[in-house]
């Protein structure tokens, strides 16, 4: 009976789904269908991956990428959150600040790469700037929309009870916007990871994006697959960490966070 409880039909089909994916990969590689011949099958990938994960090169590359993403993300959160709150709260601020930012927003972070190299001396600040641009707008919009979603009655009630601007900010604006702010943080983290991979491919020395591009250029194809998996794991762990924090501290907000 215990077996039956663990092995529900849903889980069985889910396992079948993942196994099917792995089986399709293995068969395509083993039969050498088209370019799959260049790739390692899952077992070989694990072998290459284990060898790589224990190497110094892995430690260097991963710490470069993580350092770039997290620095850029933290900077974006520090700057864009207060700015977004202000733009969502004060109409005048929104009118002065938002149109200029709306002009810059449709430019994807990747398109900033040449300009970033021009602005900053060296690779490091350029890559961080590109990730910063990627994380900045989702965080900004998260904070702004968070404030805009707050019921106007809350502001009126706080004012009736004699709250000044600072009290309204602390007791109404920030807590009301917090779930949306965290959503922005999580989206910003995702885009920062995308941006770092692209920036490292194009401009970088070191980093996971540079590594998979280098692996392609040197025809060390198995390393590409390993790199992709590592990027996926670290990226989703970063987002999961943010959601975990949001879930812990925003229990009152339901599952909006």
């Amino acid at each position: 009976m215990a077996v039956l409880r663990v092995l529900t039909p849903a889980r069985a089909l889910g396992a079948a789904s993942l196994l099917g994916l792995l089986a399709a990969w293995t068969i395509l590689v083993r039969l050498g269908v088209y370019r799959f011949a260049y790739l390692p099958d899952p077992l070989a990938s694990v072998q290459v991956g284990l060898g790589f994960v224990t190497s110094w090169r892995f430690a260097t590359n991963i710490s470069y990428s993580a350092y770039r993403v997290w620095t850029a993300w933290a900077l974006a959160c520090l700057i864009a959150t207060p700015l977004g709150l202000l733009l969502g709260w004060k109409r005048t601020a929104a009118l002065v600040g938002f149109p200029a930012l709306e002009v810059l927003r449709p430019i994807p972070p990747i398109a900033w790469i040449p300009a970033a190299i021009l602005f900053f001396p060296g690779v490091e600040p350029s890559v961080i700037f590109i990730c910063f641009v990627g994380a900045f707008f989702p965080v900004l919009l998260g904070a702004k929309q968070g404030v805009e979603q707050i019921e106007p009655q809350y502001f009126q009630a706080a004012r009736c009870l004699g709250a000044g601007p600072w009290r309204i900010f602390v007791d109404v604006v920030v807590p009301g916007a917090l779930p949306s702010i965290f959503t922005g943080f999580a989206i910003g983290m995702g885009i920062a990871w995308m941006a770092v991979v692209a920036a490292e491919m194009i401009a970088g020395e070191f980093g996971l994006g540079y590594m998979i591009w280098d692996a392609y250029a040197l025809a060390r194809y198995p390393l590409i697959v390993v790199g992709m998996v590592i990027i996926a794991v670290i990226g989703s762990m970063s987002s999961a960490a943010i959601r975990w924090v949001a879930g812990r501290y925003l229990r009152w907000a339901g599952n909006k966070g």
Binding site: L13, L95, P106, I107, I113, L118, W213, V225, M228
Partner: protein, 269 residues
């Protein structure tokens, strides 16, 4: 009675004046916003160490001096790659999302595999795409397609999941068959979410096309911008960025317009 209407008219006029004032003030503030942007740019360029960065004037001059033909040709190339990937992504993602959302066996079978692939950022597929596709055009279109696929699929799934089950039960008890339930309830109920997915996807396809063109270096606005950097043609970098921004904003606006036309009952996206 006459006095009353007159007073109301007076009130209306005052309100109109107030509103006109407000509109003026708003326009002024918005103009100020752009002025600040240009001012910040001018200030940035005059900083020591940033002599290489072109100012707004030289960028404008370079944009006006450019021959329109080749520039438009690059823009059309990027636009084609974005459109092709986007349309393919929608054609695959919407049915996949509806199938995963509607049929439990499909959900159990397909969802874990989709979920396993999702965390890989589309950018990380660039080397494999170049390895797999011989033709540059198909390399880039695969990447834009892949970037569009996941947001569309996931939002479609969320849309189907958000449909009120009572509507479906009510329709069934009124004698609706599967097709009717799908056509009258599932599809219209999912549409707003599909459009959310499409509007996220169009942003990601633009991001993907620029990255892919910079790396694959076969034409397009991304390549133009990168090439401008490597050939020290710095003002062109900013012309390219502006063109990318304008086209991106236009495609999002087009999508919003279609959304309003198809679903007039929902004016917010």
């Amino acid at each position: 009675m006459a006095i009353l209407t007159a007073r109301f008219r007076g009130l209306g006029a005052r309100r109109q004046v107030k509103r006109a004032h407000r509109r003026w003030r708003d326009t002024l503030l918005r103009t100020l916003s752009f002025a600040i942007l240009v001012g910040a740019w001018l200030l940035l360029v005059s900083l020591p160490g940033l002599e290489k960065v072109p100012g707004p004037v030289s960028v404008l001059r370079s944009a006006l001096g450019m021959s329109a033909g080749p520039f438009l040709a690059e823009a059309v190339r990027s636009l084609f790659r974005v459109t092709a990937g986007f349309v393919l992504g929608a054609a695959a993602g919407i049915p996949l999302g509806i199938a995963i959302g509607c049929w439990r066996p499909v959900r159990y079978l397909a969802y874990p595999a989709v979920e396993a692939l999702r965390p890989i950022p589309p950018i990380a597929w660039i080397p494999l795409s170049i390895l797999f596709f011989v033709h540059v055009e198909s390399q880039i279109i695969f990447l834009t397609f892949y970037g569009a696929l996941f947001p569309i699929t996931y939002n479609t799934i969320a849309g189907v999941a958000g449909i009120d089950q009572r509507l479906i039960r009510a329709a069934r008890s009124l004698g609706a068959n599967e097709w009717h339930v799908f056509r009258r309830i599932v599809l219209p109920g999912t549409m707003p979410h599909i459009f959310t997915g499409l509007s996220v996807a169009i942003g990601i396809t633009w991001l993907m096309v620029i990255a892919a063109e910079m790396i694959a270096s076969r034409g397009g606005l991304g390549y133009l911008t990168w090439e401008a950097y490597t050939t020290f043609n710095y003002p062109t970098i900013f012309v390219g960025m502006a063109a990318i921004g304008v086209l991106g904003a236009l495609s999002s606006a087009l999508l919003r317009w279609i959304n309003r036309r198809i679903m007039p009952w929902r004016n917010r996206l």
